[in-house]
């Protein structure tokens, strides 16, 4: 069996577990649970849902935090347990996987489309790095377009936003502020 922590990319598209009963497949149930802070994304689209496995009556779900201080981990766990119980799985355990660390590269194509469709700027690919982390004293350069008017004439307001995963931008063309899910 594959160990959850060894997965290195998005897990969407995994096979449903064979099931002898009438309950909906556990993976299908788990993948509908949405992120509490970005409810336009499912945990599966976000890349936070790492594994779902059924062993007899027991379902073990593995999730990984986006940031160390993600305050939504308890809610994610409760939502997963609640949804699976609602589907007839009474014995549900939610485990945490810390390694490898979550990356915005794990957000699925569908997830990126959902972000754009809801007025957020989606993250670009994470720059590969080798050696020490370089200090960057000039504003980060990203290929960011205004999600409202598609202009490239945008200004970074702050590298930190309303949740740990977002930066704040302003469009210089339509003057609207918007949020960018920052690469990590």
């Amino acid at each position: 069996m594959t160990v959850a922590s060894s997965l290195a990319g998005p897990v969407s598209g995994l096979r449903p577990d064979a099931r002898p009963d009438a309950r909906p497949d556990a993976w299908t149930v788990a993948r509908t649970v949405v992120d509490p802070e970005l409810p336009v994304l499912t945990l599966a689209d976000l890349g936070v849902l790492r594994d779902v496995r059924v062993d007899g009556d027991r379902v073990t779900v593995t999730i990984t935090p986006t940031y160390s201080g993600c305050p939504a981990m308890a809610t994610m766990r409760d939502d997963l347990v609640g949804s699976l119980r609602g589907a007839g799985y009474d014995d549900v355990e939610v485990k945490v996987s810390l390694s490898p660390a979550w990356s915005t590269d794990w957000i699925s194509e569908h997830g990126l489309e959902q972000l754009r469709a809801h007025g957020l700027s989606a993250p670009g690919p994470v720059e590969p790095r080798s050696g020490p982390v370089p200090l960057t004293l000039v504003p980060v350069r990203r290929q960011v377009r205004c999600p409202r008017c598609d202009s490239v004439d945008v200004d970074l307001t702050s590298e930190f936003g309303a949740t740990a995963c977002k930066a704040l931008y302003r469009c210089a063309s339509c003057l609207e502020p918007f949020e960018h899910v920052k690469e990590i």
Partner: protein, 317 residues
């Protein structure tokens, strides 16, 4: 099926009716145990590792993050503008998350470090460590203790301290990703990503203040002189740090000084300011923060941070 268009749908019951049980905040009525940030994580102590030293080391790194997160969060609603309020709160939250993982790892490695609470208390180990230890049991460096807003606190002071702290911690965490302890290595790998943003943020502010107005520059110079005397402590190796470094679990901070110095000199150089020539504060009676000897500010900080938890040792949050 969840309604992806409606962020509030999940606040209702499974059938969409609230049945009088609506939840207007995070949390559910599922009666599950308190969330454990290491739930299901293999916390086995590596072969040949000294579990007590590993736990003590995790407390050092965890306490640095916990105490500094508390200080940074003092800026919430007090920063120069709303964006900075949010930035500092985000940085504090990242550090608080690191602290939770590290304190939990300490408790898992050596349960004897966790204060004993009344029988039946629901307080998880990470909270017992944060809220029920006395000052002398904290192992953070004194560098993170000064208040943000009082005693001459200034935005420039916070930015200089954040630059020094995040530069040191980033260098440390980069090396800690190679720890033989899989939990520490994983915590470090995530921390590196977060601290990269913290250090850049502080570096840009130091540059901005130095190259800004006469007023901002003079405040920055005053801040450098104020912050510098305690930064040396972060590179003085405690016997526990030496031991865990020898066992391949931790990092000897003395080995970080040159590397961190290059980063700090880079920021100071583009900012057109000199590295402060001020004496280091030095240890007190042979010890410093890593030995449990703290500055006067620490007692007040803990009083504020711990008072509610200590008043309700059997409380559920």
């Amino acid at each position: 099926m969840p309604d992806h268009e409606n962020a509030y749908a999940g606040l209702l019951g499974d059938d969409g009716s609230d049945g009088g049980e609506s939840q207007w905040a995070f949390g559910t009525s599922l009666d599950l145990p308190t969330e454990d940030p290491l739930a299901g994580v293999d916390a086995t102590v590596p072969e040949g590792a000294d579990a007590a030293a590993l736990a003590a080391y995790c407390l050092m790194l965890g306490d640095d993050a916990l105490v500094y997160a508390h200080r940074l969060s003092e800026w919430t609603s007090n920063a120069p503008d709303l964006e900075e309020d949010i930035a500092l709160a985000n940085i504090a939250l990242d550090l608080l998350g690191q602290a939770r993982l590290l304190l939990s790892r300490a408790a898992a490695a050596d349960p004897s470090v966790v204060p004993v609470l009344p029988p039946g208390s629901p307080v998880p180990p990470e909270d017992a460590l944060a809220f029920f230890r006395d000052e002398a049991a904290f192992r953070n460096v004194r560098f993170v203790e000064p208040p943000s807003l009082t005693d001459g606190g200034d935005f420039a002071v916070t930015m200089v301290r954040l630059l020094v702290f995040s530069s040191c911690r980033l260098a440390l965490m980069e090396r800690l990703t190679a720890s033989r302890d899989a939990v520490l290595a994983a915590v470090a790998a995530k921390a590196v990503k977060e601290l990269t943003y913290h250090r850049d943020h502080a570096g840009r502010w130091v540059l901005t203040l130095a190259r800004g107005t006469d007023e901002s520059r003079s405040r920055l110079l005053a801040a450098l002189a104020l912050v510098w005397p305690l930064h040396d402590e972060m590179f003085r190796t405690h016997p526990v740090e030496r031991l865990v470094a020898e066992q391949g679990l931790g990092v000897d901070p003395a080995g970080l000084e040159a590397e961190v110095g290059v980063v700090l000199d880079q920021v100071l150089s583009v900012s057109g300011v000199d590295r402060p020539q001020v004496p280091q504060s030095g240890p007190v009676a042979g010890g410093a923060g890593r030995h449990g000897r703290h500055t006067e500010a620490m007692g007040r900080l803990l009083a504020e941070m711990q008072v509610v938890a200590r008043a309700h040792p059997s409380g559920r949050w």
